[in-house]
């Protein structure tokens, strides 16, 4: 966010009051108009965030105001293998789910961008996983991944590929794969629809020019579609990574972090320690520990989001 910080142009005329000067200067007026938004942000963003960070430096627990204990919570977490497990899980979850969402979402967008029969119908259908409440889809997945009544196990057994139901949520690695699959299913529509919108901004004549220049369909994708889509990809994937990194609902409904913390993400572990566990200070410290990762992701995308050289210059 950059505000226009040019110097106020109003030349102070003799006899103008302070208020007059303020309303006539660009900066003064700008500041004035920003006040409501600033107050809003202060109340609803900065205060809770600040409180969270402060709690991380205390030993507050539910029902008992804590005292400042410096970095003790963080020292404790440093030696906590469950915490490190959750960090590993979060990174794995975010990385694998984001890559899958990107690849499948892009593929879906490309398919939907072709001339299909019932195109609009499919485009609408695609959004379904995204519009149903997370809890609802999580419950559905919970049933799909059930250790005895799973439809997947049932079908595979019918086909004779396996003898016993798969223990989807009971085995650590199966559980990880299962929650990732559920997250991918939920996240694809967002990626696909955004990329579809991006694809539709690429003029048809560029594809035609490339076809005349002798490009095969793969070369057209590689040299025209993909480079022109990168600005949108950067935006979409930034959001996708942030959503995935901070995911909570899916995990909480499906596994509650189990089995044996194999699917605990930092968000779920933070909640687990703070609310059911009562250790508000420690939970807050885990949440604060997410911030560097998120900042890293934002910085990364900041450079990805920058206008590329070819986007600069006069309009068409």
């Amino acid at each position: 966010m950059s505000t226009t910080m040019e110097n106020g142009k109003a030349a102070p005329r003799p006899g103008t009051s302070m208020l007059m000067r303020l309303t006539e200067s660009r900066n003064g007026l700008g500041l004035f108009f920003m006040l409501p938004a600033a107050a809003f942000l202060l109340c609803f963003l900065t205060y809770p965030l600040g409180l969270g960070v402060w709690l991380g430096f205390t030993d507050t627990s539910i029902g008992r105001p804590g005292v400042f204990i410096g970095l003790e919570n963080y020292q404790w977490l440093w030696d906590d293998s469950v915490f490190w497990m959750s960090v590993f899980n979060t990174l794995l979850y975010t990385f694998v789910a984001s890559v899958l969402k990107f690849v499948l979402g892009l593929w879906l967008a490309l398919v939907l961008n072709e001339h299909l029969p019932f195109k609009n119908f499919f485009r609408a259908i695609i959004l379904l996983p995204w519009v149903v409440p997370t809890v609802l889809s999580a419950l559905a997945f919970w049933w799909i991944f059930d250790s005895q009544f799973s439809i997947i196990s049932f079908v595979l057994m019918e086909w004779g590929w396996i003898d016993r139901p798969i223990n989807f949520l009971g085995d650590p690695n199966n559980a990880r794969a299962s929650v990732i699959a559920a997250n991918v299913w939920r996240g694809i529509p967002f990626v696909a629809i955004c990329l579809l919108a991006g694809l539709q901004t690429i003029p048809q004549s560029l594809h035609e020019a490339a076809a005349l220049d002798g490009a095969s369909s793969w070369q057209r994708f590689r040299h025209v579609t993909l480079p022109l889509l990168t600005p949108i990809i950067a935006v979409v994937m930034t959001f996708s990574v942030l959503f995935t990194f901070t995911d909570f609902q899916l995990i909480y409904v499906l596994t509650r972090g189990g089995p044996v913390n194999a699917t605990h993400l930092m968000a779920t572990l933070s909640f687990q320690r703070a609310i059911p566990g009562g250790q508000l200070g420690e939970g807050a410290a885990i949440a604060v520990a997410m911030i560097p990762f998120l900042l890293g992701a934002i910085l990364f995308s900041f450079f990805g989001l920058q206008r590329r050289k070819w986007q600069q210059g006069g309009a068409d």
């Binding site: 003029p203 004549s205 560029l206 035609e208 020019a209 490339a210 076809a211 005349l212 220049d213 002798g214 490009a215 095969s216 070369q219 040299h223 025209v224 480079p227 022109l228 590329r308 050289k309 070819w310 986007q311 600069q312 210059g313 006069g314 309009a315 068409d316």
Partner: protein
């Protein structure tokens, strides 16, 4: 380079016929312009030549190959699009060398081909720029550069000048014509602007509503338009048209609906009794004579005077080399050279004079 033959080509979008049987033969090295009003199917025809649009029926041959079912990349043609279709994420140099890069031409050789093309078009200092950093005219040149570098069998242009300002359009006209004289590559050029067609083409194809109205050299179309449509379309200001009949007694007299008598062109006695349209170009009228015009508007351009006047109840436009000093409402005496007049059958629109 190659000849192009379009043989009874038709195209429908769904049930809607757009090209209704077009045949054009284009010789090797010829500069052919498809001209016609907006929506008459020029771009569609050009896109079928390029392979961007499927041909519903008929045959297109480039050289001696039938290309109906060949994909664009195998037709060896280059096209300049109306909106230029430059790749926005590539520099001018990359835009121009994209096709060579795809064809696997070695880097050094690409350089060798891009450089002279850029020089011809005055793009040498812009090679590292991106399309957004160029003016409209420069983009237009890059689009042409991209086509030239390929050294294709045929160049296709789809209204390449319509996004430029009037002055630039005139100078690009000359430049494209020069370029063609230099490269002698067969060129098919689409425009809705008859002046562009007249000034640039070896051969003009006048299209209207999905059919070809007339094919011929620019001056042939001007001097002998085959029908009322071509007569009205080619030439600016447009030909004056007056409906009426030949005098029953004296076929050298044409009588307009308002009863005004004009000299009829020779050798059309057989048209007696038919409903006719009398066509005379603005410069076919000269000062002094027996025909009375009631002056409405005088537009001096310096080199000539353009006068809009009433002939009976029909508005006509005349262009004189002389300076005419008259007030609106005054009467101007003019004469019409019968050999400069055209007669058309009012019903069929076909030309009757030869």
């Amino acid at each position: 380079m190659a000849s192009v033959e379009i043989d009874d080509v038709r195209k429908s979008f769904g049930n809607h016929p757009v090209i209704k049987g077009v045949s054009v033969a284009i010789e090797d090295g010829e500069f052919v312009i498809l001209v016609g009003p907006s929506g008459c199917g020029k771009s569609t025809l050009l896109r079928m030549l390029a392979g961007l649009e499927h041909i519903s029926s008929g045959e297109i041959r480039i050289g001696d190959r039938v290309v109906n079912d060949l994909p664009p990349k195998e037709r060896d043609i280059a096209m300049v699009f109306q909106n230029y279709a430059l790749y926005p994420h590539m520099t001018v140099a990359d835009n121009m060398s994209f096709s060579l890069m795809l064809a696997g031409v070695p880097k050094a050789q690409i350089q060798e081909r891009v450089k002279p093309a850029a020089e011809i078009l005055g793009l040498s200092s812009l090679l590292e720029r991106y399309p957004r950093q160029l003016s409209g005219g420069q983009r237009q040149r890059v689009a042409m550069g991209r086509a030239i570098v390929r050294d294709p069998q045929v160049f296709l242009f789809d209204e390449p000048l319509s996004n430029l300002d009037a002055k630039l359009r005139v100078s690009m006209r000359t430049e494209i014509k020069n370029l063609h004289q230099r490269l002698t590559t067969t060129t098919v050029y689409v425009t809705h602007d008859q002046i562009e067609a007249m000034t640039m083409a070896d051969k003009i194809v006048v299209m209207h509503d999905g059919i070809v109205e007339q094919i011929g050299a620019p001056l042939d179309l001007y001097d002998k338009p085959a029908n009322l449509f071509v007569a009205g379309f080619i030439g600016s200001p447009a030909m004056n048209m007056l409906s009426g009949k030949l005098d029953e007694a004296d076929p050298s007299r044409f009588v307009t609906g308002d009863g005004i008598v004009l000299p009829a062109p020779p050798g059309i006695a057989s048209a007696r009794g038919k409903e006719l349209v009398y066509g005379i170009r603005p410069e076919g009228v000269s000062l002094g004579g027996t025909v009375d015009l009631k002056v409405q508007v005088i537009e001096p351009t310096g080199s000539e005077s353009q006068i809009v006047a009433l002939l009976g109840k029909t508005q006509v436009t005349c262009v004189f080399r002389e300076r005419v000093m008259l007030q609106p409402g005054e009467i101007l005496n003019v004469s019409i050279d019968p050999r400069a007049a055209h007669l058309f059958d009012a019903k069929s629109g076909m030309r009757l004079t030869d």
